[in-house]
């Protein structure tokens, strides 16, 4: 396979043709944070936390899906990049309960984000949905990374019990017409629980032990 040489943060990196910037950076141990990325799923490129500055590009590019080119010059920690990452984390903190998302809490610390900055004066609390013997769904913790929908659909289980519903800020994960899980095509395979990064989806036992 052809080898590509590029520069990431001033360091020359050699990687196989067809690699993403994220893969190339990881070869050299250069850390780029991600949220919606999952090793075994198709990267949806929607959280934009892994954006980097590429010389010649008008906007920042998501490193998880941007393929390397010969001679590419990439910066992973420019002021534009850092501003975007910090702001994304601050906005997420204002719109979801991240108390069970250790990786995000770590990023918040690393980027010096202020979780209180955009928090609304009156917080809207949504209670957990307990409609079956196995899972608890607590969408107050959901960050809409979409991994649960991915594993429930084409990418793993083919159950098609979950979808992103609504639009814009009011988007949410839902079943068919918002029905309780036992009334849907859910087979309780547990894949969605496995990939949820924020504790929005949890096995029931663990949840009950919590209370």
């Amino acid at each position: 396979m052809k080898e590509i040489s590029l520069y990431i943060d001033g360091r020359m990196v050699k990687c196989p043709e067809g690699s993403t910037i994220l893969e190339a950076a990881r070869l050299k141990g250069i850390e780029i944070p991600t949220i919606c990325f999952h090793e075994s799923l198709t990267p949806p490129g929607l959280c934009r936390q892994c954006v980097v500055e590429v010389e010649g590009a008008r906007v920042l590019l998501p490193s998880c899906i941007t393929i390397v080119r010969e001679g590419m010059v990439v910066t992973t920690d420019s002021p534009r990049v850092l501003r975007a990452r910090k702001t994304i984390l601050e906005m997420l903190s204002a719109t979801a309960d991240l108390s069970e998302a250790p990786e995000l809490e770590q990023q918040i610390k690393a980027f010096g984000a202020d979780p209180q900055r955009f928090r609304p004066e009156e917080e809207i609390k949504t209670g957990p949905i307990v409609d079956n013997p196995f899972y608890v769904r607590d969408y107050g913790k959901c960050i809409l990374c979409g991994k649960c929908v991915q594993v429930c659909s084409e990418e793993v289980q083919l159950s098609y019990a979950l979808t992103v519903a609504g639009r814009g800020f009011d988007s949410r994960i839902s079943t068919f017409y918002g029905k309780p899980l036992p009334d849907t095509s859910c087979v309780f395979c547990g894949n969605c629980i496995e990939v949820c990064p924020t504790g929005a989806l949890k096995p029931r036992k663990e949840f009950e032990n919590d209370i």
Binding site: I35, G45, L46, C47, R48, Q49, V51, V59, L60, P62, I65, R80, R83, A84, K86, T87, I88, E90, M91, L92, A94, T95, R117, F118, P120, L144, S153, Y160, A161, L162, T163, V164, A165, G166, R167, G168, F169, D170, S171, S174, T175, F176, Y177, T184, S185
Partner: protein, 565 residues
């Protein structure tokens, strides 16, 4: 719940040639029309016939504003609340309609721009446009009474609007008598590559907003004629303040179709779509009659005009989602999905609709292509700029709002004062927005700027879809911004983080500042959110959704700073 009969829906589903997911949106729109919402049973029937998982159907219904999971009243009024209509009191009308009780109860929806900006405020009463509506005449509005839309237009160099005054675009007969389809005839006599070169050399840039070279797009999407290539006309006109495409469809629709057929020949396409926004019901009717007439006269179909060109055009209706004007979201919508934009690359010319090469252009762009090919077009040497004329949508507090076709390079102030007659009621000029809700406030020292892409780009501005919204000095900046941020809050698709959260927080902050004044840190918050959206959003909507706010900050920073006590 009363039991419903699924029979008419079933018959409709049987009529589809293609019983697959691409027929989902037409099926859902039909169900909405039949039942005034989409009952679960209807969704299940559609699922079974089109082989789409039920949960995906729910996700699609819940995405589009014109589709509902609960019944809506028979009598349905959509009132425009985008900046121009809002400044003329449309919010009051929404409130008044909501207060109507008893038999006269209507379902009311505040919507953002119906392309009826020249006689504000405007509404659709059961899909029929009604203009100059008034909160004091609610009963008349409910009955659908009011002024009809006036589609006034003027031009110094009529090309696109050349058939408007004499109404020569009315029928296929009058269209042909005024030189229509001579462009296609000429194209068919040329080599395909030469047609592309002609469009390339014309310097035509896309008129939807991004101003990408049209000929280059044609060249990159062209294939040998043996593999599939799609042509799409983007008529999802929804940028607040834009009404040019609606008027073009009404006044010269055959020129749009001709442009599509010429392009089909050039790139080797056999199938085209025109995606018209769901709120443009009468434009959809108009264009479907145009297609029918063209098919009858062998201008569409097999062996067009005796050549070996085979080309068919299908109309697709939007279902209430601004984002579907973004090209890849539009593909998703035709494919039967939520209107989520795709990450690029791949670009549409390589992998667009159904993963095939696709040449997608705006309505005005296709119409212009017909004039480039036609021998009847204005000689470009007569124009001050080689790239010709374009349509400007002038609205707001202006004496003569309307559609103006003017050469590129016409100074902004000339459009407003000479063509538009200046500010209404002898008021003072307050602010100008160029490019629609995703455009900018123009700094006062640039009011004389020539409206051409290079000058605007240099000044950090863009004319987008040709929108010029003018406000007098009684319209507070923050009210206009409130309408704009409310629009984006409603229309962000919610796929990527910067736009999903940024549009909501922007609106929350602006509406709070408007009510209570700014607090410490507001300006920095708006800048961080705005720059993150601009730099990191997935699509063009998200990247420009904060442009107006950022431009307002640079013009009037004090508005966003806490008062020093």
């Amino acid at each position: 719940m009363d039991s419903i009969s699924l029979k008419p829906l079933e018959a409709f589903l049987e009529s589809f040639e293609d019983k697959s997911r691409t027929s989902l949106l037409p099926a859902l729109l039909k169900a909405q029309e039949l039942f005034r919402y989409i009952p679960e049973e209807a969704a299940m029937l559609i699922s079974e016939k089109l082989k789409v998982p039920p949960v995906h159907i729910y996700g699609v219904i819940d995405f589009y504003s014109l589709l509902h999971t609960e019944p809506v009243e028979q009598h349905h009024i959509q009132v425009c609340v985008s900046p121009v209509c809002s400044s003329r009191g449309s919010h009051k009308i929404v409130e008044a309609l909501k207060g109507v009780e008893g038999d006269r109860r209507v379902s009311v929806e505040a919507v953002h721009c119906l392309g009826l900006c020249t006689n504000p405020p405007s509404a659709l009463v059961n899909n029929r446009p009604v203009c100059r509506i008034n909160a004091d005449k609610i009963d008349e509005l409910i009955e659908g009474k009011g002024a009809p839309p006036v589609n006034s237009s003027r031009s110094s160099h009529p090309v696109l609007t050349g058939r408007f005054a004499s109404d020569k675009g009315k029928s296929l007969k009058s269209y042909r008598e005024s030189g229509g389809f001579s462009g296609l005839e000429k194209a068919l006599s040329m080599e395909r590559g030469d047609v592309i070169d002609l469009v390339k050399n014309s310097g035509l840039l896309g008129r939807g907003g991004a101003a990408f070279p049209t000929g280059l797009k044609e060249e990159s999407s062209a294939r040998d004629g043996n593999s599939e290539v799609f042509i799409i006309c983007n008529a999802d006109e929804s940028e607040p303040g834009t009404f040019k495409d609606r008027i073009l469809i009404q006044k010269d629709p055959f020129s749009i179709l001709e442009g599509m057929i010429i392009t089909a020949y050039a790139v080797g396409s056999r199938k085209g779509y025109i995606y018209i926004r769901g709120e443009y019901a009468s434009e959809q009717d108009r264009f479907s009659r145009v297609i029918k007439e063209a098919e009858e006269k062998n201008l569409l179909g097999e062996g067009i005009m005796g050549s070996d060109l085979n080309f068919h055009v299908e109309i697709r209706s939007g279902a209430g989602a601004y984002i579907c004007g973004e090209e890849t979201a539009l593909f998703e919508s035709i494919e039967g999905n939520r209107g989520f934009p795709r990450n690029k690359p791949p670009y549409p010319v390589n992998s667009g609709l159904f993963g095939k090469p696709t040449d997608i252009n705006n309505v005005e762009t296709f119409s212009y292509i017909s004039h480039i090919l036609s021998s009847e077009g204005t000689d470009s040497a007569d124009l001050p700029s080689a790239s010709g004329t374009r349509l400007f949508c002038l609205s707001g507090d202006i004496k003569r709002p309307g559609l103006y076709e003017l050469p590129f390079g016409t100074p902004l102030s000339e459009v407003i004062y000479q063509w538009g007659g200046g500010i209404l009621n002898e008021g003072g000029l307050g602010s100008i927005i160029l490019g629609g809700a995703s455009g900018s406030f123009v700094p006062p020292d640039l009011y004389d700027i020539p409206l051409d892409n290079q000058s605007l780009k240099k000044a950090g501005l863009s004319m987008g879809s040709g929108v010029i919204m003018v406000f007098d000095d009684s319209r507070p900046f923050l009210s206009i911004l409130n309408d704009i941020t409310s629009f984006f809050n409603h229309e962000s698709c919610g796929k990527c983080y910067p736009c999903r959260m940024g549009t909501r927080l922007n609106h929350e902050i602006i509406s709070r500042i408007r009510k209570e004044g700014a607090r410490n840190g507001d300006l920095e918050k708006l800048q961080d959110i705005g720059m993150t959206m601009k730099d990191a959003s997935l699509c063009g909507l998200g990247q420009t959704a904060a442009t107006a706010v950022l431009s307002a900050i640079s013009l009037e920073p004090d508005l966003f700073k806490a008062e020093v006590s």
